[in-house]
């Protein structure tokens, strides 16, 4: 699915990247531990997280993630937003909790990072 679909499913607000909503999202993961994200999240994934500091965007940048969605209505600070803009990483914000956000997306067919695209 594309980011536009995700925005609708999660009733999310786009904070950065209105022009990037046609970006394809292959998988998603819900996680607050950045080392875990760096370790098992595949490139091209959407990250759902409750953390909003700039390191979340750094993590997305390093791991080639496609987008980040903040849950529980948490709004990132200016630094996080500026960093995301400069790295072309779309930021979304939903009022849903992490579990509900993941659940909705999974129901709509978006898979997790251990499913679907099998490599070797």
């Amino acid at each position: 699915m594309i980011l536009e679909d995700i925005k609708k499913i999660l009733e999310a607000e786009v904070i950065v990247g209105d022009e990037l909503l046609s970006r394809n999202i292959k998988m998603a993961c819900g996680c607050d531990l950045m080392s875990d994200v760096l370790s098992f999240v595949k490139s091209g994934s959407l990250l759902l997280t409750g953390l909003t500091n700039p390191q979340v965007v750094r993590t997305a940048e390093m791991a080639d993630l496609a987008a980040v969605c903040f849950v529980r209505g948490k709004r990132p600070d200016r630094e996080t937003i500026e960093l995301a803009k400069s790295k072309d990483i779309p930021l979304l914000m939903t009022h849903l909790l992490l579990f509900e956000s993941c659940g909705r997306l999974h129901l709509k067919g978006l898979s997790g990072c251990s499913e679907n695209v099998k490599q070797h």
Binding site: M1, I2, D5, N24, K26, D32, L33, M34, S35, D36, L38, S39, F40, K42, S43, T49, L51, N53, P54, Q55, V56, R58, T59, E61, M62, A63, D64, E79, K87, N116, V117, K118, Q119, H120
Partner: protein, 312 residues
């Protein structure tokens, strides 16, 4: 690309490519009020094997050459298409991945599927198995070209330099405890490797490993240096600090072991997985430390290992 890489690439592509990207957009449609006798002429002149039936912009059915033959064979009277068309049309949305289309073709044995927009339900195109194959081939060709030019770029770069051995060195200086700027060095290194034309997976592995190492410098030391050595076959990232050192390296390498303070954990780090991540991304890792003196970490990523597989 090795043959098995190509297969997993296709598996990936059928999830990645959307129906809308490969369907045929110019679709010849007919009105439900057109008569079967007129359809005969249309099908014959254009060599169509079927057409969607559209009424007031909406898809209401499909009329195929099979429906037409049935009508002929029955020697029935002329009538509007609406009486002979198939009403339950199996459709696809433009934003569905090809894999959905493939399973629909498999399940029903249709020759073609009508593609509509998910929200407006308006007709967008038509998709045959041939379109899928064509789309996949085109994408593979493009990816292959990208990969080729990437390989050529870095090779040319090294080839243009006349020397018996070529090594590129980059140094980045990390300031300790400056959490706000954490990751800047890794980010700059990543951009540099990208520009050199390294394979994205190799670049990603180096970036992730360097980022974890940079975080450790920031969290546990007053700062240090990251020195990166790029050779055509291998990238070596050396991370050095003169901080407190690691008293028990074996313990530090255990997944989950961490001495990170609470404020670091609140920021999403300090779960004790950093060194493990580095080891996973590296082809080889070398960690030396003396308590009270400092730590040296060597991360080797071979270019061969990095290409073609997701490290983690």
């Amino acid at each position: 690309m090795a043959p098995n890489n190509k297969i997993s690439k296709i598996q990936e592509l059928v999830y990645e490519i959307r129906v809308g990207e490969v369907m045929k957009k110019d679709v010849f449609t007919v009105s439900p009020r057109t008569h079967m006798s007129v359809l005969r002429v249309i099908l014959k002149e254009n060599r169509f094997s079927g057409a969607p039936v559209i009424d007031k912009g909406e898809l209401i059915g499909i009329i195929s050459i099979e429906d037409f033959i049935k009508w002929l064979a029955g020697r029935e009277e002329d009538c509007p298409i609406s009486e002979k068309m198939t009403r339950n049309v199996s459709t696809l949305y433009t934003d569905e991945p090809l894999t959905n289309a493939i399973s629909k073709f498999d399940q029903h044995g249709f020759g073609r599927l009508i593609v509509i927009d998910r929200y407006s339900k308006k007709l967008e195109g038509i998709l045959t198995k041939g379109d899928i194959v064509e789309g996949l081939l085109k994408k593979l060709e493009i990816d292959y070209d990208d990969e080729e030019s990437r390989r050529l770029r870095i090779q040319h770069f090294f080839e243009d330099i006349s020397a018996d051995k070529t090594v590129l060195l980059f140094q980045y200086d990390v300031i300790g405890h400056d959490f706000k700027r954490a990751g800047e060095c890794s980010s700059r290194l990543k951009a540099t490797l990208k520009r050199l034309g390294l394979h994205p997976q190799t670049t990603r592995r180096v970036a992730i490993a360097t980022y974890e190492a940079e975080m450790n410098l920031i969290i546990y030391t007053d700062g240090g240096h990251i020195r990166v050595r790029v050779e055509p076959h291998e990238i070596l990232v050396r991370v050095e600090d003169s901080g407190p050192g690691i008293p028990d390296i074996e313990k530090a390498l255990q997944p989950g072991y961490s001495t990170a303070p609470e404020w670091v954990r609140e920021l999403g780090f300090g779960a004790g997985m950093g060194l493990n991540n580095i080891r996973k991304c590296a082809s080889k890792m070398d960690l030396r430390s003396t308590a009270g003196k400092g730590t040296r970490l060597g991360i080797y990523v071979s270019v061969e290992d990095g290409a073609g597989c997701e490290a983690n």
